[in-house]
């Protein structure tokens, strides 16, 4: 068994297996993660959202000329925007997490979870708050 750096008894093969779960998660979890969340605002993705009448100052690249040909009115094509999902991890660092009757303490285990994408559908581009007491 290959012990990982922080002294856990989990071997590397077991940890590596979680990457496969990430693939599974992408298919079963509701849309989460970078670029998968539809924003309330319109933007520049490939997915068409709606038409709206042209107003001076709009980017003419988005004018739909076919609609103009049919209706003689200028319309702008709008697309849905996509934003990155913000994932916040709250890691309990209180004294009770120090307990461990086996090879790893609760804190070491929790830290491994936090490090290994606590939400398997989320890319490891998250922030992390550890807490005992936060500053006021």
């Amino acid at each position: 068994m290959n012990a990982v750096a922080d002294g856990s008894a989990l071997n590397l093969a077991e940890l590596a297996a979680i990457d496969d779960l990430a693939l599974l998660a992408r298919t079963v979890v509701a849309p989460l993660g970078a670029g998968l969340q539809h924003s309330a605002h319109t933007g520049t993705s490939a997915e068409f959202a709606q038409y709206r009448p042209y107003t001076p100052g709009d980017d003419t690249r988005f004018v739909d000329w076919k609609v103009y040909g049919r209706s003689d009115r200028l319309h702008i094509r709008q697309f849905t925007d996509e934003t990155s999902m913000r994932c916040t991890v709250l890691l309990d660092c209180s004294g009770s997490m120090e307990y461990g009757s086996g090879d790893v303490t609760k804190f070491q285990y929790a830290r491994m979870l936090a490090r290994r994408r606590p939400h398997p559908a989320v890319e490891p581009t998250t922030g992390c708050h550890r807490f005992r007491r936060l500053p006021p």
């Binding site: 913000r86 307990y99 285990y109």
Partner: protein, 169 residues
């Protein structure tokens, strides 16, 4: 640490995690209140904790996070000895977040302890499920992926049943 998308930041995050040493008292409620106020709505909040806190206040703040349209996940960390209380000789139990110590005869306190523990976590679990908050217990004696598999399976079922419920209403 705020979120960033680059490798250097991920490295800093890992270093910061490695530096952390547990200790002191928990203030989960204060943390959840701060997070609820400070974070923009509509994200994912993952709480990794042993959940040894007063039930009502923690649930109330988790519900507030749901109210701000966060997808809230609670990963409960338990130790096997906490779940079974396997001691067979008299023990001195020390409070890791204070300075209290309590002498205990395992056979005399085991049943009451396990019952209280079960009641505590049942209350948290029921309140979480009612608020559409996913909760999963991870036991430190089992490999990480076992907990993840259970979590994903349970979440898949929960997401399906929520969709069905919304479709019928």
């Amino acid at each position: 640490m705020p979120p960033r998308g680059n490798r250097a930041w991920t490295h800093r995050l890992l270093v910061e995690l490695a530096r952390q040493v547990p200790g002191g008292r928990t203030d989960t409620v204060g943390t959840l209140r701060y997070v609820g106020d400070a974070l923009p709505a509509n994200g994912i909040v993952v709480l990794i904790s042993d959940l040894l806190h007063p039930v009502d206040t923690v649930i109330e703040h988790l519900r507030l996070l749901r109210g701000r349209r966060h997808d809230v996940l609670v990963l409960q960390i338990s130790d096997e000895a906490e779940r079974t209380f396997p001691f067979d000789r008299s023990v001195v139990l020390s409070d890791l977040e204070g300075d209290r110590e309590q002498f205990a005869v395992p056979d005399a306190v085991r049943a009451g302890y396990l019952e209280n523990r079960q009641r505590h976590f049942d209350a948290i679990r029921e309140a979480c499920l009612a608020a559409e908050i996913d909760i999963e217990e991870f036991v430190t004696h089992e490999p990480l992926q076992n907990g993840f598999r259970r979590f994903l399976r349970r979440r898949q079922d929960a997401v399906r049943s929520r969709r069905r419920r919304r479709a019928t209403t």
